[in-house]
């Protein structure tokens, strides 16, 4: 029997409305997680450059643990493991957001650390010698400059985290990949559907790239 594969355009197009239902979940998990992750990143990133060893080590521990273990294991642990500990189930959506937050937070901590440390010491000295407090010097002089340098790696992390949400199909969040799997189970059009899923991810990440490039150019223009 001769095997001939034909890309079924109609099947691909038909799948789009169902697949698109997953996009809000993908976006909610990734951006919800990233916003919290950014907060964690600022907190632990700044802790990690503290002179005081006692304050520094929790940051180091957090960063190493969440960078050093797979995000899939992290989300499985949160979704299946943690309920045993707290004695209550955790919503898949919550588990997903928590996993992205904790995981991206660890990477963003390093981005924050690198960004802050890249600012010349002379900037801090100039601020202090003008009579500004350490806090004022940091937040009005060092941080705005560091943040500008952090935009490219933060954008990079956002794209990585968006793609990471695809792993959360395993805990049953109705995000893009999960929607695809459900659809394929009924239609057996795996090639077409995963192709569309990939394109939809690309639409999200490319849009983000374009926005970031714009933001970056505006940020750099004023320096």
């Amino acid at each position: 029997m001769e095997f001939q594969f034909q890309f079924d355009w109609q099947a691909a197009i038909d799948s789009i409305p169902f697949l698109i239902e997953g996009i809000p979940y993908t976006l909610m998990i990734s951006f919800g997680g990233l916003i919290i992750g950014f907060g964690l990143g600022i907190f632990f990133g700044l802790l990690s450059i503290n002179k005081n060893w006692f304050l520094r080590w929790p940051a180091t521990a957090y960063i190493e643990i969440f960078r050093g273990t797979p995000i899939l294991v992290q989300v499985l642990f949160i979704f299946y493991g943690l309920p045993d500990l707290i004695g209550a189930p955790i919503e898949p959506l919550t588990a997903g957001i928590a996993a992205i937050a904790l995981n991206s937070g660890a990477y963003i901590s390093e981005v924050v650390r690198g960004g802050v440390q890249s600012i010349d010491k002379g900037q801090t000295e100039a601020g202090l010698s003008l009579g500004l407090s350490r806090n004022q010097t940091f937040w009005s002089i060092v941080w705005p400059q560091a943040f500008r340098r952090m935009i490219p790696p933060l954008g990079n992390q956002a794209i990585v985290s968006i793609k990471d949400t695809s792993l959360f199909s395993v805990i049953g969040v109705g995000e893009l990949v999960r929607q695809g799997q459900i659809y394929i189970a009924n239609t057996f059009t795996a090639f077409e559907v995963y192709f569309v899923v990939a394109i939809l991810y690309l639409c999200i990440t490319l849009t983000l790239s374009i926005i970031l490039r714009f933001v970056e150019r505006r940020g750099l223009a004023s320096v």
């Binding site: 010349d120 002379g122 900037q123 000295e125 100039a126 202090l128 010698s129 003008l130 009579g131 500004l132 407090s133 004022q136 009005s140 002089i141 705005p144 400059q145 500008r148 004023s222 320096v223």
Partner: protein, 248 residues
């Protein structure tokens, strides 16, 4: 008490390195003191101790009546001192994310709670004074080195300092821009500003300084009126240093 700066038996170490040795130095109100010496002699470290950018390990330091304890042991004094002492750096250290005018307005607003219009007024007045009133809305990187350093001076002056520290203010400048910065400093001195200046500009030191201090390996080895130090140095190390720097 008319001494703005008073150092007694001050010692400073960088790890095992003894960079300032038993420094005794006073700077009177209105006095211009120029500190000279080879690189690595400790002259920059000396003036950086005055506003606490460097800690010292032992001895006494009082700035405008505020005593500083060794190892930054007196944070309240330090905060007061920094409000009253302006500093100009070799690398300008302007804030690149702020315009020239915003650079100058920042400290009056944050430290002295000046209103936007008060701070703006201060900035305009000082920019005119240093001769770059027309560059207010540019970002520092769009200015020449000489202009940037003049902005840095204006920024320090915005806090109405009782003492100005200059840490090699012309060493990072192209030769043709040194004059414009020295002119501003000369004006300041004429108006009675108390100044401590670390510089290699011997002509400026001779002309503007009330007193010249020569530092060698962390120790003050010669101190006196510029004419005496330059024309009739007593210490052989000063003689050797001056013959090297004045030869060209």
């Amino acid at each position: 008490m008319t001494d703005i700066v008073n150092m007694k038996g001050m010692n400073k170490y960088f790890g095992p390195l003894h960079v300032l040795k038993e420094i005794d130095l006073t700077v009177a109100k209105g006095e211009v003191v120029v500190v000279i010496g080879a690189s690595g002699s400790g002259k920059s470290t000396l003036i950086r101790c005055v506003n606490g950018l460097e800690e010292f390990e032992s001895g006494e330091l009082t700035v405008d009546g505020h005593p500083l304890a060794p190892r930054s042991g007196n944070p309240q004094s330090l905060a007061e001192i920094r409000k009253e002492v302006g500093m100009v750096f070799q690398q300008f250290n302007l804030f690149p994310h702020l315009t020239v005018k915003q650079n100058i307005m920042l400290a009056p607003k944050k430290v002295k709670d000046a209103s936007q219009s008060e701070a703006s007024e201060i900035a305009e007045r000082l920019l005119n004074r240093v001769g770059i009133g027309n560059q207010a809305d540019k970002y520092p990187t769009h200015l020449s080195g000489g202009q940037q350093q003049r902005v840095a001076i204006a920024r320090a002056l915005a806090m109405d300092p009782r003492l100005m520290l200059f840490d090699e203010p012309t060493s990072a400048l192209d030769p043709e821009m040194i004059g414009e910065v020295l002119d501003v400093m000369r004006e300041l001195a004429k108006e009675g500003m108390t100044m401590m200046v670390v510089t290699h500009e011997m002509g400026f030191a001779r002309e503007v300084a009330d007193r010249v201090i020569y530092i060698h390996e962390g120790r003050i080895v010669e101190e006196g009126k510029p004419a005496d130090v330059f024309d009739n140095p007593q210490n052989e190390r000063t003689q050797a240093f001056l013959s090297r720097v004045l030869a060209h």
